[in-house]
Assembly symmetry: C2
Homo-oligomer: 318 residues x 2
């Protein structure tokens, strides 16, 4: 058999032992399920990661950024398609580790590999198309409702700090433990699957924060024809992030800009109507950060209620 | 609104006016259908096409190579997801034409755009994940049956000649009309949707020829634990291809090697049991090229029944 087929047999067939993949003997998969969501996300060398990143972590991140979309829809992880293009000389060493990482997170998130495509290219290109199962309800519209409260899950900004460490932007003095914590937050986001499911029927909109809180919220405000108002002192940040805000070396405004525009948090951002707020009581690890009102755009206030203007709203690839 | 959002609103929202895409306001699509096939294929700059190729044709080819997988499954085109990464300076001029081509073939093949991802990269990277609807039966297994006859659709080898013209391999003297014909066969393959559907329940295997007839047939023979036997004089070639075979400038064996290993035909390759052969009578544009027997591998015979050995079996990216 030829080499391409060998690579598929060696690395991917063991991961695709499911009926739907047709054991990778066809180019397509066959899905019998009734209601599903499908989403697709890319990771490109030098754009989203560097060649020297651990392929195990790159694999996990590829799945997790796609799983974050599944979470935002309130769906259950089901399976995925994988496109990989990479330089000839990287195939064996890189794919061994990449598929190891893939396998771990496939077990962790109960995901099936359904198929994909493989090619050569001078830079590494990765894409996953993920499928989530869902019942009747899912977060179909990202339209907020006036007077709804704005919530986020987890902590905001750690991933942006992790990226700056990866990029060797050494303007911050972090301990080894802090660096490990922050780079892990960047490389291994936690898709909020359970939260996404719990919010079905409660949230009026739900999206994941991939390109920075400010950008995602601006888009929701724009789509909803409403004004989003958020309060800096309500935004949940980690102990490490807090330490940086209090360090006095860099202006807090500059640090907030990194936290809120840096992207890659993969936390959920959602809106809750006042009457639904009691239903949130059992849900942990979420924070109310503001509300929607009549008007347009996004307004950010400091602890004294003074409006703050950031230059950069969020991360855009273009 | 920021630039990335603007690009999506400008170029892709007009193409995604369907419920399932959720109007591109979410990262995922929502599919209610029961039985569908999904397949995914990449096109990478310098690997599958050059930067200076007409973006309209690149768009059409991207859809068609994916549609060819839909045809091979005997399914009906339904919709697709699109991943595009390209250099910053190419966005506007390139995407205008790319989306024009996309729109034309979306109408022609009745395809919906469901979603996708957009990014920046130094080289153009394209990927489509296509969804086809199907009823109970589809070509699920690529396993041939002993004594079955081997068939192909259309003409074999024109696309490989078209590619060599595109690559400026000028060892052949073609007229302008011939060059236009051949490059069109390379850039605009014809997915055999109707044939794929008609073969359901008739063919014991059905696959599309993307990486060369010899490679695809070798894979089927290997998976089926059978020997594939084909006859050069039964392989359907175009008038232009025939002219080249008779030109006496290049050894026919070298030309056959290009035709059978060059890839990109996107014709269907399928097996038919003797008892089903009568059912094929109404189907046009197909040719019987050989049969399966006990044994292993692929054997190719010339018109005198003499076995021919080709060095290169097919196109593999690795």
């Amino acid at each position: 058999m030829d080499k391409e087929k060998n690579i598929i047999d060696k690395y991917f067939k063991p991961l695709a032992k499911n009926k739907e993949s047709l054991h990778l003997e066809n180019d397509a998969a066959f899905l019998k399920d009734k209601k599903m969501i499908i989403s697709t996300d890319m990771m490109i060398e030098d754009q989203h990661f560097k060649k020297d990143y651990d392929p195990k972590l790159v694999a996990k991140k590829l799945l997790r950024i796609n799983l974050s979309d599944v979470a935002a829809m309130g769906a259950e992880p089901y399976g995925f398609f994988l496109n990989i293009a990479l330089p000839k000389n990287m195939i064996n060493p890189w794919l061994v580790n990449f598929t190891k990482g893939l396998k771990k997170d496939m077990l962790l998130f109960n995901l099936k590999l359904f198929g994909g495509d493989l090619s050569y290219s001078s830079k590494i290109f990765l894409n996953a198309t993920i499928i989530g199962k869902t019942k009747k309800k899912c977060h179909k519209k990202n339209i907020a409702i006036k007077n709804s409260d704005i919530y986020v899950s987890g902590k905001i900004g750690d991933a942006a700090l992790g990226l700056s460490i990866k990029n060797k932007s050494q303007f911050m003095n972090f301990s080894i433990n802090e660096r490990t914590y922050l780079t892990k937050k960047f490389m291994l986001p936690q898709p909020r699957i359970e939260l996404g499911k719990n919010l079905k029927g409660l949230a009026d909109f739900c999206t994941d924060i991939s390109d920075g809180l400010l950008r995602e919220l601006s888009i929701v405000a724009y789509q909803s024809n409403l004004q989003a108002n958020i309060f800096l002192d309500k935004i949940p940040v980690s102990r490490v992030a807090k330490k940086l805000l209090n360090s006095e070396k860099i202006k807090p405004k500059r640090i907030w800009e990194i936290f809120l525009s840096g992207g890659e948090d993969y936390e959920l951002l959602f809106g809750i109507k006042k009457k639904n707020i009691n239903s949130l009581k059992k849900i942990k690890n979420i924070s109310k950060i503001g509300f929607f009102s009549k008007g347009k755009g996004l307004k950010i206030y400091d602890k004294n209620g003074k409006e703050i203007n950031f230059k950069k709203v969020g991360f855009s690839h273009f």
